[in-house]
């Protein structure tokens, strides 16, 4: 079960700020989220991939790889993508 | 209609043709391939184009190429002496007084002019003397220290 931190703007779809969702990878977690809270996936994905405007924090490591493995206590955050100058 | 100019650059006699509207900066870089002096603003506000004209540092973007007639010009290409770096160049390297390096030729020319007039400047005199050269990378700290170090080196070699 991953612990997914829901972005504030999506909380009216999920009803909570943190939810536990099963899944072996981030993609599976998002699919299961969509089953429980329809409409969430289209806010996070574009054309079957993570939205180019988002990145993930998986156990506090930033990544854009949705096949990243998820362990029972993994924390997932959805964050805007950032770069630098 | 182009003007014929005869001048001395880094100790060598040089001739070139130029239009009246061309700046010395443009001619040095584009006609004579002396690309060491740089264009930063083209209106005399950044000093990246500093060269010596008849012994004084000038913004070459504010000098018309025709003004070089019978003048003596020194550019960054003439500062090292046959493969031996000038103390300023050596001190800039040892003191890490450059980051992107685009302002460096201009600073070295301005600092050389300063030390030739005032071999033992105070920190304030260095800062005033280099106030016409902009650097956006270094914050000037290491540049000032490099000029101080070069002044020290030159003092030691004289004594």
């Amino acid at each position: 079960m991953a612990i997914v931190f829901i972005p504030p703007q999506l909380r009216k779809l999920t009803g909570a700020a943190e939810i536990e969702i099963e899944g072996g990878t981030v993609r599976e977690v998002i699919e299961h989220m969509e089953q429980r809270f329809p409409g969430v996936k289209e806010r996070l994905f574009t054309d079957g991939q993570l939205s180019p405007m988002l990145q993930l924090s998986v156990d506090h490591r930033m990544t854009r790889v949705v096949s990243t493995k998820v362990l029972p206590t993994t924390e997932i955050h959805f964050l805007p993508v950032i770069g630098g100058g | 209609m182009k003007t014929h100019v005869t001048t001395t650059i880094n100790g060598e006699s040089v001739e070139f043709l130029c239009q009246p509207r061309q700046s010395l900066l443009e001619v040095l870089r584009d006609e004579l391939s002396l690309t060491g002096c740089k264009e930063g603003c083209n209106n005399g506000n950044c000093g990246a184009c500093t060269v010596m004209l008849n012994g004084s540092p000038v913004d070459s973007c504010l000098v018309l190429a025709v003004e070089a007639e019978e003048a003596t010009i020194e550019t960054i290409e003439g500062v090292a002496d046959k493969g031996h770096l000038h103390p300023l160049q050596q001190c800039f390297l040892e003191g890490a007084a450059l980051q992107c390096g685009i302002c460096t030729p201009g600073f070295i020319m301005a600092a050389k002019a300063l030390l030739e007039k005032n071999p033992q400047p105070t920190e304030e005199e260095i800062r005033f003397g280099l106030a016409g050269n902009l650097c956006r990378c270094t914050g000037y700290d290491k540049i000032v220290r490099a000029v101080q170090a070069a002044a020290e080196l030159q003092k030691e070699s004289v004594s």
Partner: protein, 758 residues
């Protein structure tokens, strides 16, 4: 003393931590280094733009015929020559880029969105001719109302820049278009609860102006569209692969047909990641069959490249009487310029990043308006929010009569702190930085005299990881050539060479670093985001280990033993009866064995988490409002300073940019939306004479994600100066300044007003 280093767990290195002369040094001090404008490509011709004189206008027609008929004119180019790209975009690793917007920014389509917006371009046999010809291009405009202040642009009746721009948000999107391109929100805990429990609550509003990165080299490119359909570009860029990707997307050609050669670059700071003239030079080259050079003039750089956003920020902080922060609320509006993408998300994520606050919300808005499209300027967004948040922190500390460094220490983010945007910090060095400045000679020296004040502030930037590739070839004489693609803006080729040298157990001088084009090295993300020494360093380390593995195998052949019998310690390869240094062994094996080529390719973890804390002493002249910086100390956690001189240089340079941001720099806009100070004369950047020495303290709290502990250093130093200076100004004058810059006219007026009121 200029610098101090505090290392958490000192380790003995042979090369790392020393100060060798940079490998490209001789070229740079003798004027031999080749910057893009120094290039003379055979048969080269020159391009120039015509740009909108209006801040906002419909383009009715563009007629290039008069220009085309001039002798010496070779070709013209308008937006009709660029493919139409409807809403295509990409994540370039440095944020999302919308190619339709990028193309529209390169050459305006349908509307001019800011004064200086490029409309068309012309190629001619000289730059002077090109500029004259550009003036002959006839453009008919229908001027429209313009807006250059972010709050005005957000209003319902504001002139609309884009008919179809709907606010991007994870929430429900609005039905109607507006100038609000994005709304982000971050939340932690419950702010009602937090503020209810606070003993002191302070709320303030802040404004910052548009600022330019101010690199001394302008934007320059040479493009050659070859007869075989391949496009070669030489350019001043922070990222040759990013340039390649953008050019290929805008021209709709495969990346494999575009080669980008990065020349030496004269500064970037985030402003030379996006493309401007490259596709236009390419099209002109295709049309006339000659290489085309375009070099922007300085006024074009100011008006038509990528300054950093102006902003309006409201911050409310609540604390208990013993100085514990318990609630924060921030409302942040950044202007993005003419197209979306003003760094609102990183700005919001940085706002409270220095503190452990249980309850907080941050709302951020990315707003388009009639100014050039903004770009990153060193820690984009962080300086704006730090000015606001650190200023309120200072007011809280003053009100609660708590020392400003102690206040920050009591609330400082550390390992395990949960950020407002969600993730938890790993090991970070903010506390160590605050302690270092508290123990510094600067802080302990009293400041006396009238009109003088001292201020402190801290700052944060994530620092990027992203992708880098290197190759490293062992030469016949035992030296190693390092092939890398990170354009060198500040000495990074040397810091990479040093890391490879340390890994192999050789001297830094025995590594020859080369920055190469996009055909000659694997994909490498930009030089920016404070990432090169960290991420390309990681790739370099991997290449070093790869070389070691290969050399062990070669040694085993040479010594007729098993690889397992060979140990490597500090660059010495040994069996029980043989021992050779790296160099000796490399010389021997190169004669007879296969070449040794090391390889490293990484997608480095993002966020090495850089923190800094600065102290400033200043004096205000009450007769003129001019501020003199008396003393400055910049402290930063570098993780590990590979080459301390260049780390100090980043800290000093960034601090001085922040000082300029605080005291003088701004875009002056008139009522027509025109910038009135587009030159280095009136866009007042600090000179040598404006400053004292900048002392530095390097703290080293090792980054667990790098073998040598490296964190990036390039960006954070620009963040603390504006709030530190604002705090010092308050001490010096009794006045709180809520607007940047705190330039002499504003300071003088505020002091006069206060004197009258007093």
């Amino acid at each position: 003393m200029s610098t101090d280093t505090t290392t958490e767990t000192p380790k003995e290195y042979k090369v790392i931590g020393t100060r060798p002369i940079r490998h490209d040094g001789a070229d740079k001090v003798t004027g031999k280094a080749v910057y893009t404008s120094d290039l003379h490509v055979p048969n080269m011709a020159f391009g120039a733009f015509i740009r909108s004189p209006h801040a906002h206008a419909r383009i009715i027609s563009v007629d290039t015929s008069d220009a085309e008929n001039m002798p010496g004119v070779l070709a013209t180019c308008t937006s009709a020559d660029l493919p139409s790209l409807w809403d295509k975009g990409d994540n370039l690793g440095e944020g999302y880029v919308n190619y339709a917007h990028l193309s529209g920014n390169i050459l305006a389509r349908g509307k001019a969105l800011y004064k200086g917006h490029a409309i068309a371009a012309v190629a001619a046999t000289s730059t002077h001719l090109a500029e004259e010809a550009a003036k002959r291009i006839k453009v008919e405009y229908e001027p429209l109302l313009a807006t250059t202040w972010v709050v005005d642009a957000m209003q319902k009746n504001a002139p609309l820049l884009h008919d179809k721009l709907i606010t991007h948000t994870l929430d429900d999107e609005p039905a109607k278009p507006s100038n609000i391109a994005e709304h982000v929100r971050f939340e932690k805990g419950n702010i009602e609860e937090g503020f209810a429990a606070a003993d002191v609550v302070i709320e303030r509003e802040f404004k910052t102006s548009t600022i330019h990165q101010g690199y001394i080299e302008s934007h320059v490119s040479v493009a050659l569209w070859n007869e075989d359909g391949r496009l070669k570009i030489w350019t001043a860029t922070q990222g040759s692969f990013a340039t390649r990707q953008q050019v290929a997307a805008v021209l709709e050609m495969p990346v494999s047909q575009v080669t980008v050669t990065p020349c030496e670059i004269g500064g970037g700071f985030g402003g030379k990641i996006s493309i401007y003239e490259q596709p236009v030079a390419a099209i002109l080259s295709r049309k006339c069959g000659r290489p085309i050079k375009i070099a922007m003039r300085r006024d074009e750089v100011f008006e038509a490249t990528g300054p950093t956003p102006g902003s309006f920020i409201r911050v409310k902080l609540g604390a208990t009487k013993d100085g514990k922060l318990n609630a924060a609320e921030a409302w942040v509006a950044f202007d993005a310029g003419a197209y979306p993408g003003g760094f609102i998300a990183p700005g919001c994520m940085c706002a409270l990043s220095c503190y452990d606050i249980p309850h907080a919300t941050v709302d951020g808005f990315d707003v388009v308006l009639n100014k050039p499209k903004t770009q990153a300027y060193r820690a984009p967004g962080s300086t704006h929010v730090a000015f606001a948040v650190e200023s309120v922190i200072d007011e809280l500390a003053t009100e609660l009569k708590i020392d400003p460094i102690d206040f920050r220490l009591n609330n400082a983010a550390k390992e395990g702190t949960r950020r407002v945007d969600g993730p938890v910090y790993p090991r970070v060095g903010l506390v160590e930085c605050l302690q270092a400045i508290q123990n510094s000679d600067h802080w302990k020296s009293p400041l006396t005299g009238p009109n003088r004040g001292r201020g402190v502030a801290c700052g944060f930037w994530f620092n990027a990881g992203l992708k880098s590739s290197v190759a490293a070839n062992v030469n016949a004489d035992g030296t190693v050539t390092l092939i890398e693609g990170s354009t060198d803006i500040g000495g990074t080729r040397t810091s990479l060479a040093m890391q490879l040298a340390e890994t192999l157990g050789i001297n830094a001088e025995d590594v020859i670093p080369q920055v190469v084009d996009t055909d000659s090295v694997g994909f490498t993300d930009v030089t920016g985001g404070s990432r090169v020494t960290f991420a390309t360093g990681l790739a370099t380390y991997e290449a070093g280990l790869d070389i070691q593995r290969q050399l062990v195998k070669q040694a085993a052949k040479l010594w007729e033993c098993d690889s397992e019998d060979i140990t490597v310690t500090d660059g010495t390869y040994q069996t029980k009866d043989k021992s050779l240094s790296f160099k000796e062994l490399a010389v021997q094996v190169s004669a007879s064995n296969e070449p040794i080529v090391g390889r490293g390719a990484v997608d480095a973890p993002n966020a090495s988490n850089a923190f800094g804390a600065h102290i400033v002493d200043l004096e205000v002249d009450p007769d003129t409002g001019k501020v003199t910086i008396l003393r400055y100390t910049a402290c930063q956690d570098a993780g590990k300073a590979i080459h301390p001189s260049y780390v100090e240089g980043q800290m000093q340079g960034g601090a001085v940019q922040g000082i300029g941001w605080a005291l003088n720099e701004e875009y002056f806009y008139d009522d027509h939306g025109h910038m009135r100070n587009a030159s280095f004369l009136d866009y007042r950047m600090p000179t040598c004479y404006d400053l004292p020495m900048i002392d530095t303290i390097i703290v080293e709290v090792a980054n667990p994600d790098h073998p040598y502990g490296v964190r990036g250093v390039g960006e954070v130093p620009i963040v603390p100066p504006p709030p530190a200076i604002a705090s010092a100004m308050h001490q010096a004058t009794g006045i709180r300044f809520y607007e940047l810059p705190m330039s002499p006219p504003k300071v003088w007026k505020a002091m006069m007003t206060k004197n009258t009121e007093d």
